[in-house]
C-alpha cells in the first residue's frame, strides 16, 4: 500500500505541476521532430479544436508526432483506423484526423516572395 500512496502523491504533484505551468501550446509552437508545421484549420473543427491540435493531442498521448508526409493519405486512413481501436478515438475525432491527413496543403513549401514576384514579372512580360 505504501507504493500506492506514493503513486497517489505523485499524481497530485503532477496535477499541481500542470496547473502551475498551464500554457496553451499549439503544434506549430513545437520544434525539432515534434514540429508538424501545421496551422489549425478553421473550416473544420471538432469541439472548437483545430484538426491539427486534435492530431497533436491524440498522438502525443503515447508517442512523438510522425510527419504527415510519412505515409500517403490512403495509408494514413488505415493507420488511423488502427489507432481508433487502440486509443478509443471517437468517430468525430477519427473523421477530423482523416481530413487533416488528406489535406497536405500546409506541408507544401511556400515560394519565397522574391521568386514569386520574379515569376509574375516574367509572365507579365510575355503576356500581350
Amino acid at each position: 500500500m505504501r507504493h500506492i500512496r506514493i503513486l497517489a502523491l505523485a499524481t497530485t504533484t503532477a496535477a499541481v505541476l500542470v496547473a502551475a505551468c498551464a500554457t496553451n501550446p499549439t503544434p506549430s509552437a513545437s520544434r525539432g521532430s515534434l514540429r508538424t508545421a501545421v496551422a489549425p484549420a478553421a473550416a473544420s473543427r471538432a469541439d472548437a479544436m483545430g484538426r491539427a491540435e486534435l492530431w497533436s493531442a491524440h498522438c502525443a498521448r503515447c508517442h512523438t508526432l510522425r510527419a504527415r508526409t510519412e505515409y500517403s493519405p490512403a495509408q494514413w486512413a488505415v493507420i488511423v483506423n488502427h489507432m481508433r481501436v487502440v486509443a478509443d478515438l471517437p468517430g468525430q475525432d477519427y473523421r477530423a484526423l482523416l481530413e487533416y491527413l488528406a489535406d497536405r496543403t500546409p506541408d507544401v513549401p511556400r515560394v519565397p516572395t522574391k521568386v514569386a514576384a520574379g515569376r509574375n514579372a516574367t509572365t507579365s512580360q510575355r503576356s500581350p
Partner: protein, 399 residues
C-alpha cells in the same frame, strides 16, 4: 508640244521618289511578313512540342493514377525494429534484436484486421503473436472485436510497449513477462470513445480465456496466461483524456476464478513553455489478489500450504525533452528516469516470494520522429537472490 513634254517630264521626275518609296515599303512589308511567318512557324513548332509534352505527361499521370488507385480493401505494414545490448555487472552481456511488423488490412470502412507477429533473436529465435484480431466499427462510439488482442488493462501493454515508444530499453516489471498485468488474451472486446466537450471518455470491456494458477511444483503460485483455458476472465477500463491539458487518467479491473486485478494509470504528456520542452509523466499501479491455495512445492501435493496471495506492482516514469531549446542537438535529447516495484506474496520455499525494486535512468537521442538511441543504467534490488546493475543500450525504429 514642248510644254506638254516638259510637263510630262516634270511629272515623271516628281513621281520618281514616290515610286521608289512604294517599292521600298513593299520590300519592307515582304521582310516583315517573312519574319512574322518564321516566328509563327517557330511558335507552331513550340506549341506542337508543348502539346506533345503535355500529352506524354498526361499519359504518364493516367498510368500512375491507375496503379495508385485504391481498391476497396487496403493493406499496410508498419511496426518497429530493435537492436539492443545489455551488460549486467558480474553477469552475462547479451546482444539481441527484434522486429515486430504490424499488419493492417482494412477490408472496408468498418472492418479492420490487425496483427503483430514478433520475431526476437537473442540466444535463439523466439516468435510470438502479440495480437491478431478483427474489429468492426459498429457505431461512432463503439468498436467490436474478436481474436487475440492486447488487453485494455491500464495503458503500458496496449499502447506503450513498442520499443520506439517505450522510453527505456526495458518494460516495467509488473507489465513485462512474468509480471502481474495480462499483456494479451484471446477473446472478444467492445470499446470506444465518447466526446465530452474537450474531454474524451474512453471505455473498454473484454472477455478472454482466464489465466491459470499454478498450484504445484517450482512454479506454484505463479499465474500463467493461457490461450485455451476453460474458464473466462472479464475486465475493462474507463479513461478520461483531457485534450488541452494532455492529461489522461484511467482505472482498470479484471476478474476471473483465480485472481482479481485492479489498476490505475495516469499519464501526462504536454509541452510546457515554462520548462522550454516536453514533459512526459507515466504512473501506473496494479494490485492482484489471487486464490490463496492450497499450494505445494512437490508435485504430489503432500505438503500443502496457503499464503496471502496478493501481488502489487507499478512504476513512475518521468521524461523531459527540451523541444523548445534553441540548439537543434539539445532539442533531440531526452532524459528519462523510472522507479518501479513488484511485491510478491511471502512465500514458503523459494524465489516466488521475492520483492523487487528497480531504478533506471537513461538518455535518449532522437534521430527522427520515430527513431531513437537509448542509453540507460538500471539497478535492481531483490529481497531474495541479490541485487544487480546493468548497462542498457538500444536502438529502436518505428516504421
Amino acid at each position: 508640244m514642248t510644254r506638254v513634254v516638259r510637263a510630262a517630264v516634270a511629272a515623271g521626275l516628281a513621281a520618281l521618289p514616290l515610286l521608289s518609296g512604294a517599292a521600298s515599303v513593299a520590300a519592307q512589308d515582304t521582310t516583315e511578313t517573312r519574319r512574322l511567318r518564321a516566328e509563327l512557324a517557330a511558335l507552331r513548332e513550340e506549341l506542337s512540342q508543348f502539346q506533345d509534352d503535355v500529352d506524354a505527361r498526361m499519359t504518364a499521370l493516367r498510368d500512375s493514377a491507375r496503379f495508385a488507385q485504391a481498391g476497396s480493401n487496403r493493406f499496410v505494414v508498419t511496426g518497429y525494429g530493435v537492436g539492443a545490448f545489455t551488460a549486467v555487472r558480474d553477469g552475462a552481456s547479451t546482444f539481441s534484436s527484434a522486429i515486430a511488423p504490424i499488419l493492417l488490412w482494412q477490408l472496408n470502412d468498418r472492418v479492420l484486421f490487425q496483427a503483430e507477429p514478433e520475431f526476437e533473436m537473442a540466444e535463439a529465435l523466439e516468435t510470438n503473436v502479440e495480437y491478431a484480431h478483427v474489429s468492426y466499427l459498429a457505431l461512432d462510439f463503439l468498436t467490436l472485436g474478436a481474436g487475440k488482442f492486447l488487453t485494455p488493462f491500464n495503458i503500458f501493454s496496449q499502447r506503450l510497449h513498442p520499443a520506439w515508444i517505450n522510453k527505456l530499453p526495458t518494460a516495467p516489471l509488473a507489465f513485462g513477462h512474468g509480471g502481474i498485468v495480462p499483456g494479451s488474451g484471446v477473446g472478444a472486446f467492445a470499446r470506444g470513445g465518447v466526446p465530452l466537450g474537450r474531454t474524451r471518455l474512453s471505455y473498454a470491456f473484454y472477455g478472454i480465456n482466464a489465466p491459470e494458477l499454478m498450484t504445484m511444483g517450482e512454479a506454484a503460485g505463479a499465474i500463467e496466461a493461457t490461450d485455451a483455458g476453460e474458464a473466462r476472465a472479464f475486465g475493462g477500463r474507463f479513461g478520461l483524456f483531457m485534450l488541452r491539458a494532455g492529461l489522461e487518467v484511467g482505472v482498470s479491473s479484471q476478474t476471473s476464478d483465480v485472481a482479481k486485478l485492479a489498476g490505475a494509470d495516469v499519464s501526462l504528456s504536454r509541452q510546457l513553455a515554462a520548462l522550454r520542452g516536453n514533459l512526459d509523466l507515466r504512473l501506473e499501479g496494479v494490485i492482484s489478489d489471487a486464490v490463496d491455495g492450497p499450494f505445494a512445492i512437490d508435485t504430489t501435493m503432500t505438503d500443502q500450504f496457503f499464503v496471502n496471495n496478493r501481488r502489487e506492482g507499478g512504476y513512475g516514469q518521468l521524461a523531459y525533452r527540451p523541444s523548445l531549446a534553441e540548439s537543434r542537438v539539445l532539442r533531440n535529447i531526452e532524459l528519462v528516469g523510472r522507479y518501479e516495484w513488484l511485491d510478491r506474496p511471502d512465500w514458503r520455499g523459494g524465489e516466488m516470494g521475492n520483492d523487487t525494486k528497480r531504478y533506471a535512468a537513461g538518455v535518449n537521442v532522437w534521430l527522427t520522429s520515430s527513431m531513437q538511441i537509448k542509453l540507460g543504467v538500471q539497478r535492481t534490488i531483490n529481497t531474495i537472490g541479490g541485487n544487480s546493475r546493468a548497462l542498457l543500450f538500444q536502438t529502436a525504429t518505428g516504421f
